[in-house]
């Protein structure tokens, strides 16, 4: 059988050292994706370094009023954490919309960020896939792609990132803490994942052996509202057709701070920077939201069966921003 070595080191340094010496090894978090991929023959690591029980299981306030989330914190724990629910509702809502209770109980923050696309061709070793085997081709462009990317795709790959949590983190300007043999570094969440270009096999900008140890959220904007919404084929346990996470702060009827991120449109959580820039200082109205989001989505290049994602994402974002603006105007922070 395809055997692999399993290690459960007690600290991050040991974990990093173990993987540094194993070019085809992998870190194991909750295993909800990697173990499936191993069963399917898509992933075949010869070493699994289990990092799910490293001491990265805390959710703590930072000195500046932000939040530091250990990479081993379970999705279900994070979703119901009082500080997350109170200050970052977009994150709690995104987590709760993902997967199923059982999967959320197992999945870790670090693992969630590194899960792989659910493109059916990627998951089937009997078919070509440039992400799984570079150079073999991308049947999704002509085949089953209703769920796949409309933004930032390339001729080589139209996969989407399946994470809900990452969309919220993108909207929250989260920073990812990474450990490696070369010392720690900090990566903005929006720079963690990469678009396929001509190297679709590389999902992220991490180098082999780098270990996510925490995710840090900046302090919440005073008076800002946030929310997450996901459209899907069934009411639970389904990946997004499109999703949106947004943070909005309105002052005297004008947009003072806005973050919008889309899920299921691209190989990474899609920060709508064009829309954000267009909205800054503009009236917080449905008309300006609609203009800005249309501007953002003008870059979309849909395939035969996924063009619906463009109006879907637009309507979700506009409706959400309108609701957040109304809540800002009407309610207590």
């Amino acid at each position: 059988m395809k055997t692999f070595q399993y290690e459960r080191p007690a600290d991050a340094d040991t974990a990093v050292a173990l993987l540094a010496d194993a070019p085809t090894g992998a870190y194991l978090g909750g295993g909800t994706n990697l173990v499936d991929l191993m069963k399917l023959g898509v992933a075949a690591p010869d070493l699994l370094v289990d990092v799910s029980r490293l001491p990265f299981d805390a959710v703590e306030e930072t000195g500046t009023g932000g939040l530091r989330i250990g990479a081993a914190v379970r999705n279900s724990t994070l979703a119901v954490h009082p500080l997350v629910r109170e200050r970052y509702p977009v994150l709690s809502q995104a987590l709760l919309s993902g997967a199923s209770t059982q999967l959320r109980n197992a999945a870790t923050v670090g693992g969630n960020l590194l899960q792989r696309t659910r493109c059916p061709y990627f998951q089937d070793v009997g078919k070509p896939c440039n992400k799984r085997r570079p150079g073999t081709g991308c049947p999704a462009r002509e085949g089953a792609h209703r769920d796949l990317a409309v933004l930032g795709a390339s001729e080589h790959c139209v996969a989407t990132n399946p994470s809900d949590m990452a969309v919220a983190l993108a909207a929250l300007d989260a920073i990812v803490d990474v450990a490696s043999g070369h010392g720690p570094r900090r990566v903005p969440l929006t720079d963690l994942h990469r678009l396929p270009g001509d190297a679709p096999d590389r999902d992220t900008t991490l180098r082999h052996g780098e270990l996510i140890t925490a995710v840090e959220l900046p302090p919440p904007m005073p008076g800002a509202r946030s929310a997450y919404r996901k459209a899907r084929d069934r009411a639970s346990y389904a990946f997004a057709l499109a999703s949106v996470g947004a943070v909005l702060q309105v002052r005297e009827g004008l947009v003072h701070h806005v973050r919008v991120a889309f899920g299921a449109l691209a190989a990474k959580p899609w920060r709508a920077r064009t829309a954000e820039e267009a909205l800054l200082g503009e009236p917080a109205t449905t008309a300006s939201f609609d203009d800005a989001v249309r501007h953002e989505l003008a870059a979309a290049r849909p395939l035969r069966d996924n063009g619906y994602k463009v109006p879907l994402a637009r309507r979700m974002a506009v409706s959400m921003l309108t609701e957040l603006a109304a809540a800002s105007a009407g309610g207590t922070p």
């Binding site: 059988m1 395809k2 069963k39 023959g41 049947p139 002509e142 209703r146 899907r232 346990y237 879907l312």
Partner: protein, 697 residues
């Protein structure tokens, strides 16, 4: 004997409920055997071609791997007349996903790794997998599933339709659907000389036994098939499927017990699916909604291995008064996996089309859709002129309308609103034929006052074991706990398949007969069972084997309320109600589960389920339960079920009609009609996904 209160009609809990919830119930892959080995399939990566080489050298390098069986080296199976089980016999590949080799190893993991290491080379040939209504190669089959004629004509449809004041002409499409029972297709097989024992997951082990005997050319008496508990089938285990032939073949080849549980992602290609249908329905009526002309024309597909024709037009032959009628089926043989039975084959997709068209006709006539159906109630079965043994569709519609509050609604489409949600309701009729097949049973009375009844029934989760015990206890006139019913073994008196909603009638009848006879014998013996007991055997070859002068069907009415999100296009169900008339209900508890289960599966068909046949590969895209969207709990609202008790003397001694399938029939149409009421959009292609709604709003 004193007279006991009857237990049929009582809500008796499943006899094996505790075993199931505690894990004590053993399914096909649960039987530990000494020396057990494990198998994993290798499946074709081309849709059509011939195997030119199999390289198993890497797979066999692991000493834990016992064999890689292929058409070239496997013991050759005899022809049992069923292409589904003709495994590893030929180098020809007829569809993507066909099992072309089987790895057998000491552990599951080793078998899986070995299967992944087998390299198969093909001489690939161009494939043809796309069904359209006007494609070349469509032909008229000799008959369609369940033995119905492909075409029926009454009167002069064309003339009557042309002369009709109001017409509806629409095409409805149902995507391929998969049964996906929770328990995968699994078997554990062991040989002892020429004697074969198989623990198998199926809907009828009598046929599994005879098929295995034919495949391996051994006596049926030497084949033991055990299927005591089965975790669902929905038709996909109705006849033997490849797993059982493969497990037995592998066990013979390696000389050890072999367990094969088909991996979920291989089930879609080799265990059957509901074939896609393209159905054109034309209705011609007068301004009052009386149908004069009805045409229902189905185009569907089958595989090159077998001809299975989904009989989608058949229910239009008996539902409504229609003096001029045309019902047809055309089928194309494509390089696709073989279709097969899925819960209410024919009626389920066919009634989606007909009952959607009825809703369109009601709109066109400006009539209430409940009233339209009542106006077209036929006095006798239109197709045959036979009287109905009982038909209470109108009562179901009226009772359902009352309970649902149907007549309180504003009938205009797209006016119901709740913030960003559009609200609408819909109705559809349900029907399912009464099937009954000959079966055999034995009953013993012990001198200790206990009874044992033996019949090869299969409980696929329906509650069959329980209801048969109720039938036996009543016929014997003894309390339930004195009766033990043995089912689920091929060596028991032959029972028919758990399919066609026929089980309770088919197995219950000989059980009733044997137990009634045994009760008389006990009475004749002065009420005392002698030492050695009393034994009775019964069958229904005569009673159930012949035809009937009646048209026998169960009927129902389904009502649904949906909400449609105008932002996302998501359709969610707010409530459903089903009212059914299906003879006497023998166990309200298990019956309710059957009705609700069928309606839930219909909800999935309407809104979430669908398999995409990839034209490039000829393969289904959705092959696991993350991508094939069976409705989740969050999709299913409270479903309300009621029934109208029917006293129908033309059925069987219990007076029952089957209830396993009728719940799915009409559910999708009720939901699609509700979507129309909510939005004004007529969606004629299932499933109704958010994109369909969004692009139409």
């Amino acid at each position: 004997m004193t007279t006991l209160p009857r237990v049929t009609g009582e809500a008796v809990a499943r006899i094996e409920a505790r075993d199931k919830v505690t894990g004590a119930a053993s399914y096909a892959a649960d039987h530990p055997l000494d020396g057990l080995t494990h198998a994993w399939p290798v499946t074709a990566t081309v849709a059509r071609g011939d195997i030119t080489a199999v390289d198993d050298s890497e797979a066999l390098r692991d000493p834990a791997v016992l064999a890689v069986l292929t058409h070239a080296n496997a013991p050759r199976l005899a022809d049992a007349g069923d292409p589904m089980v003709a495994v590893l016999r030929s180098p020809h590949v007829a569809h993507h996903g066909q099992i072309v080799a089987l790895a057998v190893a000491e552990t599951l993991e080793a078998a899986r790794a070995a299967a992944g290491a087998v390299r198969v080379t093909y001489d690939e040939q161009p494939h043809d997998v796309v069904l359209t209504a006007d494609r070349p190669g469509l032909y008229t089959p000799d008959e369609v599933n369940a033995g119905h004629p492909a075409d029926r004509r009454r009167g002069d449809f064309d003339a009557a339709y042309a002369a009709s004041e109001i017409t509806v002409d629409a095409v409805y499409e149902v995507t391929p659907l998969h049964n996906h029972p929770m328990e995968p297709h699994a078997a554990t097989a062991v040989w002892d000389g020429d004697a074969l024992t198989v623990f198998d997951s199926n809907q009828g082990s009598t046929v599994v036994r005879s098929t295995l005997a034919a495949l391996f050319e051994v006596d049926e008496a030497d084949v033991r098939v055990v299927s005591e508990h089965v975790g669902g089938g929905f038709g996909s285990k109705g006849t033997p499927r490849p797993h059982v032939a493969l497990a037995a073949l592998a066990a013979k080849a390696v000389g050890r017990p072999v367990r094969l549980a088909l991996p979920r992602n291989r089930i879609a290609a080799v265990t059957g699916h509901r074939a896609p249908t393209i159905q054109r329905v034309r209705l011609g009526a007068d301004a009052d909604g009386h149908i004069d002309a009805l045409a229902h024309e189905t185009v569907t597909q089958t595989s090159t291995l077998t001809e299975f024709v989904e009989q989608a037009s058949v229910s239009s032959r008996m539902m409504y008064a229609s003096p001029h009628s045309l019902t047809t089926h055309r089928v194309a043989r494509l390089d696709v996996p073989s279709p097969s039975w899925m819960r209410a084959p024919g009626e389920c997709p066919g009634m989606f089309a007909l009952e959607s068209a009825m809703d369109e006709l009601a709109s066109a006539c400006g009539l209430d859709p409940v009233e339209l159906r009542i106006r077209n109630e036929p006095p006798v079965e239109p197709d045959s002129g036979r009287p109905f043994s009982s038909r209470h569709l109108v009562d179901c519609l009226r009772e359902g309308a009352r309970r649902f509050g149907w007549h309180d609604r504003d009938p205009r489409p797209a006016v119901g609103r709740d913030g960003p949600l559009l609200i609408g309701s819909g109705v559809a009729a349900s029907t399912y034929p009464v099937w009954v097949f000959p079966s055999h049973a034995e009953a013993y009375a012990g001198s200790d006052g206990r009874y044992e009844v033996r019949v090869n029934a299969t409980d696929i989760g329906t509650g069959a074991r329980t209801v048969l015990t109720q039938i036996a206890a009543d016929a014997l006139g003894v309390p339930l706990d004195l009766v033990r019913v043995s089912i689920g073994r091929g060596d028991l008196p032959a029972g028919s398949v758990a399919g066609g909603s026929s089980g309770t009638a088919s197995w219950g009848w000989p059980v009733h007969k044997a137990c009634t006879d045994l009760r008389q014998r006990v009475s004749d013996a002065g009420g005392h069972v002698p030492d050695g007991g009393l034994f009775v055997r019964a069958d229904t070859e005569q009673e159930a084997g012949g035809g009937t002068e009646y048209s026998r069907h169960a009927f129902g009415a389904q009502f649904a309320e949906v909400q449609v999100d105008t932002v996302t296009g998501e359709v969610r169900v707010r409530r459903m109600l089903g009212v059914f008339a299906a003879g006497h209900i023998l166990n309200p508890r298990t019956a309710r589960s059957q009705f609700i289960g069928g309606m839930t599966m219909g909800l999935g068909m309407a809104l979430t389920e669908g398999s995409f046949l990839d034209p490039e590969f000829g393969d289904f895209t959705e092959r696991d339960l993350a991508s094939y969207h069976v409705a989740a709990c969050a999709d299913v609202p409270e479903i309300d079920v009621h029934w109208i008790d029917e006293d129908d003397p033309h059925l069987n001694p219990m007076g029952s009609k089957g209830i396993g399938e009728i719940g799915i029939v009409g559910a999708a149409a009720a939901l699609a009609n509700a979507v129309h009421h909510a939005t004004g959009m007529r969606v004629r292609r299932l499933p109704i996904h958010p994109d369909t709604i969004l692009l139409g709003l």
